[in-house]
Amino acid sequence: MNWEYFIWFAIPSIICWIGASVLVYNTKFKLLSNLLFILGISIFLLFIILFWSSIQRPPFRTIGETRLWYSFFITTTGYITYRIWKYKWILSYTSLVAVVFIIINLLKPEIHSTNLMPALQSYWFIPHVTSYILSYSMLGAATIASFILLRHVEKNENEKKLEDLIDNLVYVGFGFLLLGMLMGCMWAKEAWGNYWSWDPKETWAFLTSTTYLIYIHTRIHKLNIKISLWILIIAIIFLSITWLGINYLPSAQDSIHVY
């Protein structure tokens, strides 16, 4: 099993997700849409499992592989959020984000099967990366919800439930962000003898988390919701730079995190 087979799993998953996202708005097809969405996630997970077992190393190494996990986690997050909070649009939008990431992987894979260099051979590797991708998918879902809420705020509509949903996603997503960072510290100490060295990726991860902290504190303070929502949008930009943009920054050419 390798990337050549990806398309045969990706297309059925996409069809399931899009089908479910459309059908969910019709109450007659509620069960079918649930089943379709879960089927889509299962097909996608099957590829990850088969792929993992054939490459004989954890698939967390290349940007293409992290995008693979992201598509899986954001749909899973979207489904769980939908079941708890009953917002139908969350299924549609998380599917859309997953589809975009799948298409990027199909067109520009960046998947050269890289060997694991000695520093990456650690039991911290999988929990560190998983925690981050989980966090990214929740904070991504929070951003989708914040755009929806911004539209309601413009119309002076009060959406307390939606505010709670965003807060919840940010709290849980931030928890994973922090956990991923702390595990990174422990790992860095073992590999390089330093738990924090202001490597560009570390710096960007740090300022991403402080931006989410600003959001959390403005929410505790009940500051104007519009300001808080815009802080969330700035935060997701910083997050994207940390995750995908680092390789293009001139300040990061000596980074140990560039791959």
Partner: protein, 414 residues
């Protein structure tokens, strides 16, 4: 009843005043930077960091005693916390966008940003001032909050105290950490090390290197343009992973390629053949067949090393099949460590598996990259950090706090 509009600087202070003060401090920091240069964290070497730590603790105690005082009220306000978070985010943004250096600087890089300390952000006065203000404000906030056995307080305490402990001990303890690089030749014993400035020091710890081994991954094949050295296809280089279990013919870049034989530890046995010899100077070699409608060639291909020439398979006058240099899978130093106190430890040191000897931690650092498997030395990093364990306590508290945040989410307040 309409409340009268509050005037700026009227107590209690709010966002406006907090932001003005915080950014005022940053401006003072940058001005100081242009006059006297950066802050030297090594001034905070023991016992001076202890004195400063005590002063910070006394200050926090004062904030607890005089919590009704308007200044201390402001110090523990959400207005200031948020303003400090904004300040540290912006300073980190500068840090993340500018190239940092370790003091070595070209004259052409000396510009306004250099004078403001952008190239060494973490030791610039603005950064240091905000860091200490965070220590004071965060400490006072933790001290002020009334303890209770609620979810809300527990999560608050774990996250805030955890962070404060990490910031306090990592920052103030920085000058007490020591890190050196030691180079040891195979079969020799060494106790001299190099510090950051490449000065030689002698340590009360000695390392004997008995053996150094490198394991390598099986390399890949690629087709290159001999004139431009570009790997095909031009925009999206493709590699053919050698797999000894799979010797089927495959289509690669429009050519039919087949692996006939592969030797991981190969040494040239004639002009054009290889044989297996498990020695340090050996190198991977593959016997490869390439076919098109016009050609059918077989040849040994090898990336070579500093002793053996590389071998390529010429497809035609412009293209050739080459082997990529083998990447290291692991490097292991078989060492014996001696200390002045008489301890003697024998171990195999690998990346990600440091050795703790007394107060020191020893890390596998590197080897002679040009020589690869034939490296005659191995290098080690020796790190001494007396404040490490307490920083780990902070990391554990913060980790527990974030775990509870994940479990309870928005319900943490209830």
């Amino acid at each position: 009843m309409r409340r009268e509009k509050r005037k700026i600087w009227q107590l209690p202070w709010s966002y406006k005043e907090s932001l003005i003060i915080v950014f005022g401090i940053i401006i003072v920091g940058f001005s100081l930077q242009t006059i006297i240069g950066g802050f030297n964290f090594y001034l905070l070497i023991y016992p001076f960091n202890l004195y400063l730590g005590i002063i910070i603790l006394i200050f926090i105690l004062l904030s607890l005693i005089f919590q009704k005082n308007a200044f201390f009220k402001w110090l523990t306000s959400l207005h200031l916390s948020t303003s400090l978070l904004i300040a540290i985010t912006l300073l980190s943004l500068i840090l993340g966008l500018t190239k940092q250096d370790n003091g070595a600087i070209n004259s052409e890089d000396v510009n306004i940003f250099y004078h403001l300390g952008f190239n060494q952000m973490t030791s610039s006065w603005a950064f240091v001032f905000i860091y200490f203000l965070i220590l004071l404000s965060l400490g006072a906030i933790i001290a002020k909050r009334k303890p209770s056995f609620t979810k809300k307080y527990t999560i608050f305490l774990l996250n805030h105290l955890g962070l404060w402990i990490i910031l306090f001990f990592a920052g103030l303890g920085y000058a007490d950490t020591k890190r050196y690089i030691m180079y040891v030749n195979v079969g020799e014993i060494e106790w001299r090390v190099f510090d950051k400035e490449n000065r030689v020091q002698e340590l009360p710890i000695a390392i004997q290197l008995n053996k150094f081994t490198i394991e390598e991954y099986i390399p890949k094949l690629a087709i290159v343009n001999k004139k431009t050295s570009e790997i095909l296809p031009k925009d999206k280089p493709e590699y053919f992973q050698i797999d000894t279990n799979n010797k089927k013919e495959i289509s690669f870049n429009g050519y039919k390629i087949k692996l006939i034989d592969y030797i991981h530890n190969a040494v040239r046995s004639s002009d054009s053949t290889f044989k297996e010899v498990p020695m340090k100077a050996s190198t991977p070699a593959a016997f490869v067949q390439v076919k098109t409608q016009k050609i059918d060639k077989t040849k040994w291909v090898s990336a070579g090393n500093s002793i053996q020439f590389p071998m390529v398979l010429d497809i035609d006058s412009s293209l050739a099949i080459v082997m990529t240099p083998a990447e290291p899978k692991s490097f292991i130093s078989n060492i014996e460590v001696y200390t002045k106190e008489g301890t003697n430890v024998k171990t195999e040191l690998r990346v990600n598996h440091p050795l703790k000897v007394g107060k020191w931690k020893i890390y596998q650092y590197g080897y002679d990259n040009n020589m690869g498997k034939m490296s005659s030395y191995s290098s080690f990093e020796l790190v001494y950090d007396p404040w490490l364990n307490i920083v780990y306590v902070g990391i554990a508290l913060l980790g527990l706090g974030s775990l509870l945040l994940i479990i309870f989410g928005i319900n943490y307040k209830k």
